[in-house]
Point group: D2
Chain length 266, copies 4
């Protein structure tokens, strides 16, 4: 197995300066740890709870910032797209383009993304069983793209709560595609605040450890230098100054688990 890859960054591109600061921290930490790394940030948050919520710099500016980060730090980047017309321009800059969970069933968007030839990171919808991901993979394949990653981010568990089904990782691995784990969004408490989701970032380490111990291709993570003042999903964000010890532990865990002999239990 390959070592754990990190799709890590920030939720939304709050400003060019902050994006550079966050990217530099991730790059430094992952280089010290020898961890394969892709910088993640969104140019637009298209599904906030409130119309007044901050959405980001938009496609053009956002992609320019991502291109700058890519050039300056020599790292691949990943960003998410929300409408079919955004797929091609996003894929000109981004190495991986991400299909949002709520949109993962929209055929036109899936096809437009697949046709770019970029790697597609499919967030598993909160309402979808792990084995149903094969339908979305099939759509990509039929559009000519088999470079697909599957990414867990929690399942609806009653109202206003998510649960991560650790057995779902194994179900998704059966597809043969790499399986990632978006640990920070899985900490969401949907509808938990007056006009946005709440989150349980104090438990980010234990949830990440659980997932990595199952044996994953990669981790998806959002961090922020000041989570309480982040403009989106701060309640789920890892404090940026905790990044290095957090990742160092997960790296050790990943190495241990991937060194285990298969047990072949049938």
């Amino acid at each position: 197995s390959l070592p754990l890859m990190l799709f890590g960054g920030m939720n939304v591109l709050e400003s060019r300066e902050l994006a550079l600061e966050v990217a530099e921290t991730y790059v430094d930490v992952t280089r010290r740890l020898g961890m394969p790394y892709v910088f993640k940030a969104s140019f637009d948050k298209a599904n906030r709870s409130s119309i007044h919520s901050f959405r980001g710099p938009g496609l053009e500016t956002g992609l320019a910032w991502l291109a700058e980060i890519k050039a300056r730090y020599g790292v691949p980047v990943i960003t998410d797209v929300h409408e079919p017309w955004q797929a091609a321009p996003a894929a000109e800059v981004a190495d991986v383009i991400q299909l949002p969970a709520f949109l993962a069933r929209q055929t036109d968007l899936v096809v437009a993304m697949a046709r770019t030839g970029a790697v597609i990171n499919i967030k598993k919808p909160q309402f979808l069983a792990p084995h149903e991901m094969r339908h979305i993979i099939a759509k990509c394949r039929e559009a000519g793209n088999e470079r697909v990653i599957l990414c867990e981010r929690g399942s609806s568990f009653g109202y206003n709560n998510l649960v991560v089904d650790m057995l779902g990782f194994g179900d998704m691995k059966q597809t043969g595609h790499p399986v990632f784990f978006d640990v920070t969004h899985s900490l969401q408490r949907p509808g938990g605040r007056a006009d946005s989701a709440d989150g349980r970032r104090a438990q980010v380490a234990e949830l990440a450890r659980a997932g990595v111990a199952v044996g994953l291709a990669g981790l998806f993570l959002e961090a922020h230098p000041d989570p309480d003042n982040a403009r989106c999903d701060g309640p789920c964000a890892l404090p940026l100054d905790r990044l290095e010890p957090f990742l160092a532990q997960l790296k050790a865990l990943d190495e241990l688990v991937k060194g285990f002999a298969p047990l072949s239990i049938t």
Copy 2:
């Protein structure tokens, strides 16, 4: 309370001839029953499980057929939109435009729909608590449109199953907006067939009765002359030849329930 209104029709516009046949049946039946009626059909099924699934005639042709039905039978029409650019042309023909459940959090789509001035039918996402619908209503209001209808269509209940929370109707009524019940989609078994959802249409009458007995503004229903050969969601569709007795029973139930004195239990 006003009498039960029907948003009734077919899933996808399979052909002009079939649409006319279905519309004529609904119009005849609802006129005989004295039931306020809006014809429903989709011009595009944008989120089918498979890329090979039938999607419909597309925006232009579909709207032309809806316009013909509207003119020929003198009934309002409702159709669903999937991308912001579709909202304005759809609202030129449709009296009610529908926000799909999976897309109900997409701010650009909500705003584009609200700005048309049409009535908006918001399908409650399978992953959203009833009281969270207020966020989507607020987005519409802030875009200048308060003519909003809320429509239940089931909540995720584990994998591959939906449940209708009858107490959620009351939670949604607290918003002051009319509450409808999409009974046929609530019968879905997501992922229940090899490449599409299964459904439980044999139970459509009992589920519809349960919802109508709570006291609703309206019912949303899809029917088909040959459900086993419908091109989408046939497993949930009411056989068209059962429409009149089905609706006659619900009308009687609605009249009884709306005649009840309030019980004021606190």
Copy 3:
């Protein structure tokens, strides 16, 4: 179909006087309405959240009070049992003995109850699918008793919440046994108060109507003259002075629904 039967009473036998008051009200109301009626109360609440919660008068005193009610008002009675040794004495007084939801899988209890020959009311566990009730029915049958009633009381829906699956009634009817609906316990919010369950009694009428509209053999109901001061499950109890209008509406609904011609949708 037979008319709706009522298993109605109070949660726990708080005192002899209160039990008589409650029974008399139910008897009067159901006689005026012509509704078949069985008085329900518990002699022991064996699974309260707190050790300090009121539990009731115990088996001997409780059964004496039930016998008095039975004799005085000429009505059958139902009560619940929690351990195998209680089944026989309970069945000497009670016409129907009830298997609690949490205990519905305990073989010794089921067998002891079945062997009394009394009618058994099986509460569906919150963790059990409707079609799984056949296993409990089979245990009764193998112990020689086929006089079994199935009673819905809500399914776990995430943490601290229940949902009533209206399609589950139909699944349970497939067994051929009468299906009842415990509407007041279905209103529970488990763990909703500091040391007990909360409830949503303001919504009792809409939930009861939904269930009765499906077509049921009977309703299970708890009421109290002063729900805010009830010693158990007050948050779910119907105020006793609302009993008559509440039941009158359900009776009208039941008569309407049972008069409907079958629709035979396959």
Copy 4:
């Protein structure tokens, strides 16, 4: 933190010989690994799906076999009790007595068990939120016993499925009591076979790793030399010949995780 303890054994005491064989294997393996160990087996399976299911040797014989294992191998033993009168005799032999999940709210049973002074292992009911375990702890404390262990075994997730909420371990640790993880029962598919639960034993290693990575006091495990012919819960049982590599991996994982510095994320 103390090293991971194992409550390990077999589901039901199928025979004296098999119990000895299983116990000997566990004892040998855990001694080689230096893992604290308690032998687990049930003398009675009181809540099987079918009345014809094998239940075990009963209290007297079962306790005799447990006493023999305890004496022969010098290990503590744990067994589960189902009715209050069983608590005292069970506690004469067993060092830990276990409160079954379905029965965890039965006050008389909890109190009878607590009064024995034995350590109590409380299985978390499938219908209970992790933070609600405090009510059961309080019952034990008020009965004079604070030697309580909390044990996760999955939560109801729709019908016929369980999910393990990895964040629930942290919620339960807040109580200050040791938290264990019953990994084999968490693999159940309730109602998955014609007359019993199905299970997913092929995934036992990944689920166990996920839990142990969170940081646990102990693991609960059932194994069998021939799972396909086990008399209860074979679909969930670890093949006994896989025990040593399975535990060796978990031990390494536990040591790694317990060596991590706390991250203090707030």
